[in-house]
Amino acid sequence: MRPMESSRTEGILQTIRVLDLADERAIYGSKLIADLGADVIRVEPPDGDRLRLRGPFASDNDGEEHSLYYAYYGSNRRSVTIDLGNARERETLRQLALSSDVVIDTGTLASADIDVFDLLEAKPELVIVLVTSFGSSGPWAEYLTSDLVAGALGGFVATTGDVDTQPLKAYGELNFTTTGLYAAIGSLTALRHARETGEGQVVELAVHEAVPSCLEHVLMWGWFHNDLPMAKDDVLARRGSLHWSDMYEVMDASDGSIMITTTPDPMKQLAWLVEMGVEQDLLDPKYGDPEQHRMMVMRMMEVLRDWVAQQNVEDLFFEAQERHFPYGWILSPDRVAQSPQLEARDWWMNYQLGAHIVRGPGAPYLLEEKPIRKESSVSEVGADTREVLEKIGWVER
């Protein structure tokens, strides 16, 4: 296979215009679409989006503080300010929606008394994605959420944490990340239908349904525990890094932590342990009985724990990968930042913070045909208001 020759400087969605009315619950979706080159107009109140106040922060040489959260999630948009308290500006918002291909909204349209089906009547090919916390109707429809509450009610938090800790959330706001991804998928799916047929539509998405769509084994345990040899009942309580299959766990090496697994082939793992002379009793015939396969795997994890404790973590990781074992070295962000793999794939991109350029995360896919942009920047609050509104004939404010 030939290596991919592209760099990432532009996008493939230059043909679409998106009105971004997403708060933290769906902003990752409009970010992905913006990073792919769409013309994304983000509407902010006159005093600026409150997400601009989210940390972490970085100061530039002039002492100005920049939100790194916003640099990541709020970049590559044009910024238009709208005062929802002003009837005329609410009408401007309506006009902006009607000049878009796709609207992604977490509640701003309703706050502005704009009915989505009225919008559709005025522009039948429009796609409107409405994101709510729990749904537009039902007993919890009015409930408030946060990423932690969404993860708790959605079943994510119960899976994370150890037997001796409380249930935990993951880093950041990954339940909202999932929601944002579904918002992007809903947008582009309905856009495809609109391009084919001229028919737009409203797409509804609840955070509370996005979260349990990404729980791997959790619902399987509920439905099929009787078919799973490792399942004792219909719930698997959190248990640190030990995977539901019992075959993956983070272990302590002499100088760091490493995720060890006997998959995909426990016999190959056994051969390695024998080669090292550290197999303990694993060659006992009782473990050779196919009926006792699970017992053998559990015992192998114990033997591995003893062996791994004596190993240098870095050496063990590379030796394992050389032998095609999917071990994973537990890396902190500074080490991730130095990943030779990311360097070799020219993954990072530049983020503009005032007059500064800072390195940061690249795109989660590499495209051959039309590369993804390599520079990322945040518009000042309202920087594009005049230019955008002139285009739709609403310059007077």
Partner: protein
């Protein structure tokens, strides 16, 4: 199939979770997903309960890729596909003679997506990985947990789902691009890069400030807010999450739990002060929650305008959650497919006003759709299909 992606043909070589989750979504949305499987590759067949979870709404084609005829048929199918998708290590499809360079010659519009663990090329390009490997290498395991420990991490194969969702997003974007340009393209999606992107703000913090973020339990990573944690309740391992995000919510919280005096306590007067006295605050809240049922705490606080929610298990979602019950989130397939009875499932969380997703079909038996697919995609005559069956290509 009906749905917004009607008419999109997907040739699906995926296995395990990341790839099948992506094509499950495409199938739900109405694409014609042809899943290529083989009796000779156990584990990626309906016998596996895991397979049953991720392979609804796809048709099943069995092909023995170790035979020349099998590879020829795969190539002919790839030339008629809108999307070819796989999540092998780099190089497998090339060895089968259906690499991008070959397929795109006869099918210039093909969107060809490869979801390998580490991406194509680079010093780690040949590394093998499952989600737990990616979580480790991407920093997700390190950053998810409590201070002083790096052995907790996310308790499910979350990054597989994320890779699938990112794959669907980029495929749909590529469809829009092809509409205006006529051009398909190859997409190299590294599951590892998806995982790293999920820690984006921690990496920016490192590059901008040299700050190496550490695990912080349930504290909010982007805002100074407290309380923001899970608290024990009555019952065996029952917990409730409480997140006070604003000062108004703090007032409401204290009033709702009958501790109005806390609002006047200088240790708790501002979010910053509460974060500085977090242990004291959390102990006091836990003293209150542990005498109560988690659902009662949720209802009391939500009625007072405070975001709170029970730490629900899968069983709670399936049996107790009134909101998911109201929205008909859990359903059963309209047919039995490869099984003796309908398969329970969670529907896609997207609800389309014009192209609703209503038909969910169970995973199909290995090769159950061979004749139909070969006839529809390749216009193969019945006797030719029978011949391939006889010589063992279709197994």
């Amino acid at each position: 199939m009906t749905g917004a992606l009607k008419g999109i043909r997907v040739l699906d070589f995926t296995h395990v979770l990341a790839g099948p989750y992506a094509t499950r979504i495409l199938g739900d949305l109405g694409a014609d997903v042809v899943k290529v499987v083989s009796e000779k590759r156990p584990g990626n067949t309906p016998d596996s309960t895991y397979y049953r979870m991720w392979n609804r709404n796809k048709r099943s084609l069995s092909l023995d890729m170790s035979t020349e005829h099998g590879r020829e048929i795969a190539r002919a199918l790839a030339e008629r596909a809108d999307i070819v998708i796989e999540n092998f290590s780099p190089g497998v499809l090339d060895r089968w003679g259906i690499g991008y360079d070959v397929v795109s010659k006869g099918n210039t519009g093909v969107i060809y997506i490869q979801m390998s663990g580490m991406g194509d090329g680079g010093p780690w390009g040949d590394f093998v990985s499952f989600a737990a490997t990616v979580h480790a290498l991407a920093g997700l395991t390190y950053l998810t947990g409590v201070p002083g420990r790096e052995d907790i991490g996310i308790g499910n194969s979350f990054n597989d789902h994320q890779a699938g969702l990112h794959a669907v997003t980029i495929m749909l974007a590529a469809i829009e691009y092809r509409r205006t340009t006529g051009k398909g393209q190859r997409v190299d999606l590294a599951q590892y890069e998806v995982g790293v992107a999920l820690t984006g703000t921690a990496l920016l913090d490192y590059f901008a400030n040299g700050n190496v973020q550490k695990p912080v339990g349930n504290r909010h990573q982007h805002e100074i807010v407290a309380p923001h944690d899970t608290y024990p309740c009555l019952g065996n391992d029952r917990w409730v999450a409480i997140t006070v995000m604003t000062e108004v919510q703090w007032q409401n919280f204290c009033t709702a739990i009958g501790r109005s005096e806390w609002t006047g306590d200088p240790r708790f007067a501002t979010a910053l002060a509460r974060v500085e006295h977090l242990e004291e605050l959390n102990n006091r809240i836990a003293d209150w929650t542990m005498k109560l049922d988690a659902y009662d705490v949720q209802e009391l606080l939500q009625n007072a305008g405070v975001p709170a929610g029970v730490v629900q298990t899968g069983k709670d979602l399936l049996q107790r959650d009134p909101q998911l019950s109201h929205s008909g989130f859990f359903r059963k397939t309209i047919d039995a497919g490869a099984y003796n009875e309908a398969t329970p499932f969670e529907r896609i969380p997207l609800q389309f006003s014009r192209t609703p997703v209503e038909e969910y079909r169970a995973p199909r038996a290995v090769g159950a759709d061979n004749a139909e697919i070969l006839s529809e995609w390749l216009e193969m005559a019945e006797q030719d299909i029978q011949l391939e069956e006889q010589i063992g290509t279709l197994r």
